[in-house]
């Protein structure tokens, strides 16, 4: 399977983090464990909230798609590990002048970088970059088209684990625009690899991918049926373009049918947790009572995001086999 060959070194260590696909439960659990230890860095009276783990390394944020939120968390994660960070918003520079993706990469490599964090509008872009960049560079996928957003999925898994400890008995529902969602695809893979009992997707047919069951989920088009007895509800963000693309009539109808409110939550387990990758459209995906309510763990997702990204960066940069290392300091 291509992704396994791509992301792992010969001895099975994680070199790139492009997709949950091809990674086994042990590896995913390692990432969660390491991230857990990074979450403690924020507390415990540290004057300096950094560790020198990646000191001397340069991490470049290559964002071909704009995203201040995600880019900032990656930047914070890198800085907490004492790495140097370069931010490149390509959407405003070279490639809009016609420079090919490959040329952009070659120019960047001349700047002696150790890691690219890439976000791009085309599915497969992160794989493409990992395939073509210099052998010593690690690539982290910060979202490629509708394909994969593995760090988001992992921070969601960490959040679930913090509340539910064991994945095995869980029923998890993902609600919203599954068709266009790289977050959903990565979450489904992670949940199934970690061994949950059931993953459900809930959406109108226009927002479901072809033969959604083939992704390893049960498909629902009715929210009430779909969230019955679930332990976790993940609400996906609804993009405005879906209304203009004849996929949905209005946010109003979407909220009526698929929006999460307190009374609908009663259908789920009493200790259900509500998640959202952010930013929330209040009144569309959920009302404020749910967003700020006792079931919501949305804010924890944000801080877990930094810890997960620190974990992934550490693992990838610590995995390179001898012959691929750059000059080491003595």
């Amino acid at each position: 399977m291509m992704y396994r060959d791509h992301q792992l070194t010969e001895d099975g260590k994680l070199k790139h983090f492009l997709s949950i696909e091809g990674l086994n439960k042990t590896l995913l659990t390692e990432i969660l464990d390491l991230a857990e230890s990074f979450t403690s860095l924020a507390d415990h009276g540290r004057a300096v909230k950094k560790v020198p783990l990646l000191r001397g390394k340069t991490i470049t944020n290559l964002f071909f798609e704009n995203s201040t939120r995600t880019r900032t968390t990656f930047e914070l994660a890198a800085k907490r590990l004492s790495a140097d960070v370069l931010n490149l918003n390509i959407s405003t520079s070279a490639t809009s002048k016609g420079e090919s993706l490959l040329d952009t990469l070659r120019n960047l490599e001349a700047m002696h970088c150790d890691m690219f964090v890439v976000r791009h509008a085309s599915s497969g872009a992160a794989h493409f970059i990992a395939n073509h960049c210099a052998p010593h560079i690690s690539v982290i996928n910060a979202g490629d088209g509708s394909h994969s957003h593995p760090t988001q999925a992992m921070l969601d898994m960490l959040t679930i684990r913090q509340h539910k400890s064991d994945f095995t008995p869980l029923r998890v529902a993902i609600v919203g625009d599954i068709l266009h969602s790289r977050v959903a695809r990565s979450q489904i893979l992670a949940l199934n690899t970690l061994g949950v009992t059931e993953v459900r997707v809930i959406a109108p047919r226009t927002l479901l991918p072809y033969d959604a069951r083939s992704l390893g989920v049960h498909v629902f088009t009715d929210l009430h049926e779909g969230i019955e007895d679930v332990d976790v509800i993940i609400m996906l963000r609804l993009q405005k373009e879906r209304m203009t693309g004849a996929l949905l009539p209005s946010e109003h109808e979407y909220f009526n049918l698929y929006g999460l409110t307190e009374d609908k939550l009663h259908l789920a387990k009493p200790d259900v947790i509500v998640m959202h990758p952010g930013p929330i459209n209040r009144g569309v995906e959920m009302d404020s009572a749910v967003a700020d309510g006792k079931h919501s763990v949305i804010l924890e997702q944000v801080s877990n995001g930094i810890a997960i990204r620190m974990a992934v960066m550490s693992i990838c940069l610590g995995s390179r086999p001898e012959h691929q290392r750059r000059e080491e300091t003595a």
């Binding site: 090919s100 791009h120 599915s123 497969g124 493409f128 088209g145 266009h180 790289r182 991918p209 083939s214």
Partner: protein, 436 residues
Amino acid sequence: MSSTNQSISIINGRLIDPANQIDDMLDLHISQGHILAIGEKPSGFEAEKLIDATGRIICPGLIDLSARLREPGFEPKGTIASETRAAAYSGITTLVTLPDTNPVIDTPAVMELIRRRAKQSAHARVLCLGALTKNLNGKELSEMAALQNAGCVAVTNAGKPLGNTLIERRALEYASTFGIKVFIKPEDRHLRNDGCVHEGIISSRLGLPGYPEAAETVAVARDIALAEATGAHIHFQCISTAKSVNKINRACHDGINLTVDVAAHQLHLTEMDADDFNTLCHVDPPFRTLRDREALRQAVATGSIQAICSDHQPHEPDAKDHPFPDSETGISALETLLPLTLKLVDEKVLDLPTAIARLTIGPATIANLPFGRLDQGRTADVCIFDPDSHWQLNANEMISHGRNTPFANWEFRGKVTQTLFEGRITYDLDTQHERQ
């Protein structure tokens, strides 16, 4: 070096000419660029050149109904000289090229330019499909009668959309006024949206925009209805779905004049092959499901699909060096046209004479060409190949400028040994001789 006037005898080979239902150990004698005799050599005839075809197959030179030569306008991808040379190497003696060059083939002048270039390198015959609309803009009709006079085989909009169904109806009616066939790659561009792989489990998993089956079948249904309404002769190019084949079959059954071809690569690969974002598998129409592939194979075997083409689209390496949705579509396919077709014989989809028919008399009949057959007096376009020669495709050694093929490193059985075009040897493996 072989000149037009050299007389040639091809002996000891197995001659397969489906047009004349011949499959026998027969010799072929050529003189003055034409076929002099089949079987016994005429008395008093002594060939200046003898080709020993022991253990080999002799068949008509192959005819490819869809091959982009990229010239004029896209020379970094290929030229008439380079691509016709690749054709000769592959046993292809007639290429039908599409009008989406730059400038577009919507005037006799551009056709003349292409004809001259082809004659200069003289590796193969290049025939043109003329543009259906001016500059392929989908709005205004081109001077089809003039193009026909200048020798175009048929007209097409080269896969570019027509403004609306009214324009399509009028274009079909106008073409049919002069008995000009219209080649159509059926596609509803709105349903296609920005699809780049078949809308199926692979597109769902990879999050790639899907190109639904309906984008082709809706267009096929529409085009069939318009063919019926206008009496125009439509040829469907590069069909990809089982459902399209069914629709076309039923329409033919109802007496509507339709023909259809399929690209060789669609008979082998499926959507699964794009699974790892392999841009070499980024083609248009996309590879479909296994069921579609089986239906296409069946249709080729029974003759519901009359011809196999290459859909040759050579590219410079950069074109494929992008994330999947941003890469250009197409395969450099001349050199695998015959090999992939012979593979179908190996896989017992169809027998050898039928396979050869799909590459010779099939396309000749569709395009109304006096080629693809070995009758006495016909121009001597001949392909000789060794059906037992095992070889492996090495992308770096391809003759075409384009090395973009997902069949790199595939093993094939059957290799062209000689190609004759108008009685001249344009390729000869035996003497390591290729006409420059």
